[in-house]
Amino acid sequence: MHKCDCNPLVPDIVEVIEIVEETPDVKTFNVKSEKGVPFDVMPGQLAMLSLVPVGEAMFSVSWQEEKEYLQFAIKRVGLMTDELHKIDVGQQLGIRGPYGNGFPVEECKGKDMLFIGGGIGLAPLRSFIKYCFKHRQDYGKIQILYGSRSYADLCFKEELFEKWPGQKDTEVFVTIDNPEEGWDGHVGFVPSYLEEINPDPAGKIAVTCGPPIMIKFVLQALEKMGYTDEQVITTLEMRMKCGIGKCGRCNIGSEYICLDGPVFNLAQLKKLPPEW
């Protein structure tokens, strides 16, 4: 297997070792290279995956399991992800990374954490959530608010309903957009559920990711509840090709999302042109 260590645009090779169907259009792929993980990834960082003869696309790494494998939860939304959803265990993929700044896991130490996700937006948050559980003593109370269109569209159900609620000093709130048979949980959109829960901003960091419209209303709700711009973190998405701040397209103002982002706090975002 050829690997050019010096050229950041040439991929390493990984193999898909497990595929989990999360929802009708989201699958989680566990991938490993000959040495285990192709590289170490911090929560919120990105990697460029390629179905080599088809295309490359950038994804948030939803978890690194020790030195064993990387996990990507991928929603089927376009040409490349359509093809990715057709592959089986054993398929080899190209991978390069890690890219981007990732979540400020150090700065958040000692804080209470509030995670607010919608749809596939839970995938990047999950890396931070699992990191908090792994280093449980470093973080205070953990609240997770997550919503999707329907029960079927909720990602990571086992963690949501079984693993996470049992963790020390942790609350998990789940909502779906519309009532459905067999669902006795909360119904409604994430921003309004957030206002109902009304989590106190004191000593807390809020981290959010989801559809742009959800993020917009979540930010408004947080502001109303008294969260400062420094207490609110989000992770952005733009089209990317190179991942190393050269190809040009993922800029917002003079920042490149692949390199300077994808994670920003609201204070940083407000200094950028409103293209996010």
Binding site: I13, S50, M238, C242, I244, C247, S254, E275
Partner: protein, 339 residues
């Protein structure tokens, strides 16, 4: 000083071409640009050191319009990266002007700094010698002086040549690479005192000072609607711009084989920022136009400390609807930032 007689140029190019690809400014039919001396055909081409400016910039020499990155094989589920194409063939760009030399410096900042070195670019750039031609009489669309360039002292350069106007070029080695090249052709260089022409100023002057700072407050200004109105988003400005470097990465595959390549892209096109889920942060032509001019005049300066326009004037000549970046700078200067 060292002087090279212009009637020996072809001999010198032939000598240098034994070891390097030599790119020379030529008029080729209606086209002008930096073409490989190996393709020089006296019946068709005219070596034209005095063109201001060549229609095509020399950027393709260090950032090719299309470039193979690596080849691969996929057999069943197994994938192998076969060959990585890093181009280390020595190259000489002969006679580039201060604007285009400065553009190379901008490309160096993008591809060689800020966290990652681009190996494809680096390999080509390290093996490229720049022989820059000092400008004593800028062309009708030139405004490099306004963009902070001294046309008589082009930088970066390994050799600077100065046309005396009397059939000779003053030859100044300006780096170790330049000294090596000078040694290779030393038999053609004479020691001689010659008089250099008087440097004329650019006819076009633009007041760029303070524009980058002013633009910080102008993202939401309605002036962009007005300025972008004639723009067709055709992208010719980006292709002819010596500093526009944006690229796409694509794949070509057949059967079990294929290669990944990159090619110039343009921020003028909708697809450039189109995301798979349907969202496009720069959906409209106006948004794309604004991003291009802000990148040239504000964003690049914020990130790298210099503007991404070098005053070469090519976009002014090529734009089919007459958009002129110097007028845009003037207008930005005049308009009320909040309006």
């Amino acid at each position: 000083m060292k002087v090279l007689s212009k009637d020996k140029l072809e001999t010198v190019f032939n000598r240098l071409a034994q070891e390097s690809d030599v790119y020379v400014p030529m008029q080729r039919g209606e086209q002008s640009g930096f073409f490989s001396f190996l393709t020089y055909d006296a019946a068709r081409d005219e070596i034209a050191l005095d063109i201001l400016n060549t229609y095509l910039p020399p950027k393709n020499i260090i950032l090719p319009q299309t470039e193979k990155m690596y080849s691969f094989r996929q057999e069943g589920t197994k994938v192998n990266i076969e060959e990585v194409y890093e181009d280390s063939q020595p190259k000489i760009i002969f006679g580039i002007r201060g604007c285009d030399a400065k553009a190379v410096e901008c490309l160096d900042m993008v591809f060689l700094t800020r966290g990652y070195e681009d190996s494809f670019y680096k390999s080509r750039r390290e093996n490229t010698v720049i022989i820059a031609n000092a400008c004593y009489a800028p062309g009708p669309n030139c405004f490099c002086e306004s963009m902070g360039i001294d046309p008589v002292n082009p930088r970066p350069a390994d050799v600077i040549i100065r046309d005396t106007g009397n059939g000779t070029l003053v030859w100044e080695a300006a780096s170790d690479k330049g000294k090596k090249i000078s040694d290779q052709i030393s038999e053609f260089l004479e020691e001689k005192d010659v008089k250099l022409p008087e440097a004329k100023q650019c006819q076009r002057q633009v007041a760029y000072d303070g524009v980058a700072e002013k633009l910080r407050d102008m993202f939401a200004s309605p002036v962009w609607d007005k300025l972008s109105e004639p723009c067709q988003n055709c992208g010719i400005c980006t292709y002819l711009c010596p500093t526009c470097y944006c690229f796409d990465i694509q794949v070509k595959s057949w059967g079990e084989e294929g290669y990944r390549f990159r090619c110039w892209d343009s921020c003028m096109y909708r697809e450039y920022t189109q995301m798979a889920g349907g969202h496009n942060p720069r959906e409209t032509g106006t948004e794309r136009f604004r991003n291009r001019f802000l990148h040239k005049l504000e964003f690049f300066k914020e990130r790298y400390g210099t503007s991404l326009c070098t005053g070469c004037g090519r976009c002014i000549i090529a734009c089919p609807v007459g958009i002129d970046i110097t007028n845009i700078v003037d207008l930005i200067k005049e308009v009320d930032a909040g309006a």
